[in-house]
């Protein structure tokens, strides 16, 4: 199962979904508000993950 690091909440979870679109949908995250990194490389939402992948969901919203 891919590992998902949620930067805003500072927590790490595992999910059975391998499509980023599905992962965001399940987590109720609006894709326009985040960027996704795998091994420190940005990836688009149509990428399918491998079971050992670790991804970071980084909010794009400015801190103020």
């Amino acid at each position: 199962m891919p590992t998902i690091s949620l930067e805003r909440e500072e927590r790490i979870i595992k999910m059975k979904e391998v499509e980023i679109k599905e992962i965001l949908k399940k987590l109720k995250i609006n894709p326009t508000t985040v960027i996704i990194a795998r091994n420190n490389e940005l990836i688009t939402e149509d990428v399918k993950l491998n079971k050992d992948d670790v991804i970071k969901i980084i909010p794009v919203i400015s801190g103020g």
Binding site: R8, N30, V34, L42, I43, T44, E45, I58, S62
Partner: protein, 305 residues
């Protein structure tokens, strides 16, 4: 699907289109778009001193990174940075260090002004005094005041900010909701209704770039250290409008672009309508004001009571 231009692995899919771009094609697209905004709206003239307002966050560091590359390439304007330390514990103190490191590494002169030095109080202590007032509304007044005053003291010709398309769409809608069209007349890629030597014109090179594009640019250039949000951010009206617009954007891609494009069509009429309003000098501090005293002095008087 690969990068539209070179078939490399893409890093982003652009909003409202099927276009995907790889790292180098995206950076080229981003910088070209910012440069086009500078040229189209004549944001920077030759030999000008541009002061970039920085906070150490991703938007302002992206702006500084972009302007620094441009100034090295063009060699026809001077660049320095101005940081306002509001005094927000566990937030600003951390981003200040990031800004300092960036400026040191890139040989950019960084000026720091603080609420404490300018007003005698930090934002944290002002918020403690007025717990029921939204921090952002007080902070915005003091921040704008100090940015203008300090950049004028630095003899800046322009004050550049990292405002992006999302910020502008939010401001337009917020002003609509509050029936504050006079404030909207001051918006646009360059701010202000008319030139006044007491105001340093503000320029927004990232005006047509989305927040997601700015975050992508920041990430690709190693400018995102870690995600950090202002302690008071969730209190603001902007926060609510931002969420509404993001929901709309997801359902109807291109919404934010349309808001800004429609607004730009009516902006010349708004500027014309409000250009006759006089700008006074605040009787307390001498800074520009729309009434007898400026908003910053009004707030400071309340704080001192």
């Amino acid at each position: 699907m690969p990068c539209k231009k070179c078939a490399e692995t893409p890093v982003i899919q652009l909003t409202n289109s099927d276009i995907r771009l790889c790292k180098s094609c995206f950076i080229r697209y981003f910088e070209k778009k910012a440069l086009r905004t500078i040229k189209k709206y004549n944001l920077i003239d030759r030999k000008e001193h541009v002061v970039a307002a920085v906070s150490g966050g991703k938007d302002s560091l992206s702006l500084l990174h972009f302007l620094n590359r441009l100034s090295i390439k063009k060699r026809d304007f001077k660049l320095s940075a101005l940081l306002i330390d509001e005094g927000i514990k566990n937030y600003r103190d951390e981003t200040i260090e990031t800004a300092k490191k960036f400026c040191e590494k890139n040989n950019i002169q960084l000026h720091i002004a603080s609420y404490k030095e300018g007003t005698g109080k930090t934002l944290d202590s002002i918020k403690k005094q007025f717990p029921d007032t939204v921090a952002c509304s007080m902070c915005g007044v003091l921040r704008r005041y100090l940015l203008n005053k300090k950049s004028r003291e630095l003899k800046a010709d322009k004050l550049a900010t990292g405002h992006n398309l999302d910020d502008e769409a939010q401001s337009i809608i917020m002003n609509q909701f509050r029936h504050n069209i006079a404030l909207s007349a001051r918006l646009g890629p360059t701010t202000g209704v008319k030139r006044d030597k007491r105001f340093v014109p503000r320029i927004k090179p990232f005006y047509f770039l989305t927040e997601k594009e700015v975050a992508t640019y920041a990430f690709l250039n190693g400018l995102i250290d870690r995600f950090k949000e202002c302690t008071y951010c969730a209190e603001s009206n902007r926060f609510v409008v931002r969420n509404i617009l993001n929901d709309l954007e997801q359902k109807y891609p291109g919404t934010k672009h349309s808001i800004v494009a429609s607004f730009l069509e009516i902006l010349p009429m708004l500027k014309e309508k409000y250009k006759g309003q006089d700008i006074n000098s605040c009787r307390i501090c001498g800074e520009p004001a729309s009434s007898e005293t400026c908003s910053a002095c009004n707030l400071l008087q309340k704080i001192k009571k």
